[in-house]
Symmetry: C2
């Protein structure tokens, strides 16, 4: 499996507000998937959840996650990111979800009444695919 740092074309793709799906592990070890907003700061992935979300409990129990990000212009161009949740922090001022909402919708997040939580993910490895062909790994 290719290791970080990501090559420039993967970094560039992650900087765009693409659709993504994150997998976490349920209590019984089975996988759980959910579509998610994310941000990428060049080394870590930010996701944000309502405090009540199942995947937050999952991350608190087991830090291992996997994301597949699909290029917004063609979902046949994909990055899969393996990683660990290294930080979970209450998003008391909603700055985390606003950051994501601005990125995806260019507006502050609409629902101001729900407690939210940020989770930061460090990468252990990645794969890239385009039309079923693996990306060059650098």
């Amino acid at each position: 499996m290719p290791k970080p740092p990501l090559p420039p074309e993967a970094d560039a793709m992650l900087r765009k507000p693409n659709p993504a799906v994150i997998a976490t592990l349920r209590k019984d070890g089975s996988p759980h998937t959910a579509a998610t907003w994310y941000d990428w700061d060049g080394s870590r992935v930010l996701v944000n959840m309502a405090e009540t979300r199942l995947r937050l409990d999952n991350m608190r129990r087991d830090d291992r996650v996997c994301l597949t990000v699909m290029d917004g212009s063609s979902w046949y161009r994909q990055l899969t990111l393996y990683g660990r949740v290294v930080e979970i922090a209450d998003d008391d001022d909603l700055s985390g979800i606003d950051r994501l909402s601005q990125r995806y919708t260019r507006q502050p997040f609409g629902n101001r009444g729900t407690k939210r939580v940020n989770a930061w993910i460090e990468l252990d490895g990645w794969y890239g695919w385009e039309n079923s062909i693996a990306w060059p790994t650098g």
Copy 2:
């Protein structure tokens, strides 16, 4: 978690060739995700992989999978399907991958030289989301 059978609107969504991401479990129990074509026959999900794909090894070892399907017209409309792989069979005549390729591209699958495998998934439960609101469960 809502149980099958799926309500009509979920069934109707799954019958369309939507982008999807499937999670399987790696040998160490960590999650693996990959974008995938799928088909839906009203009770089971079909996926198909090149014989060399990591997720096929994962499915042979642990039958527990999860898929998130995003509506092709808006990825904010999503279905997450929990299930088990109940059948894995060589796709010797490529009829499985051709079925998926016709569904997604209206053409037979282009790469005829690679061994492929069908996997059928039975559902244990599902969630639907639209703009972060859970679907009515019927």
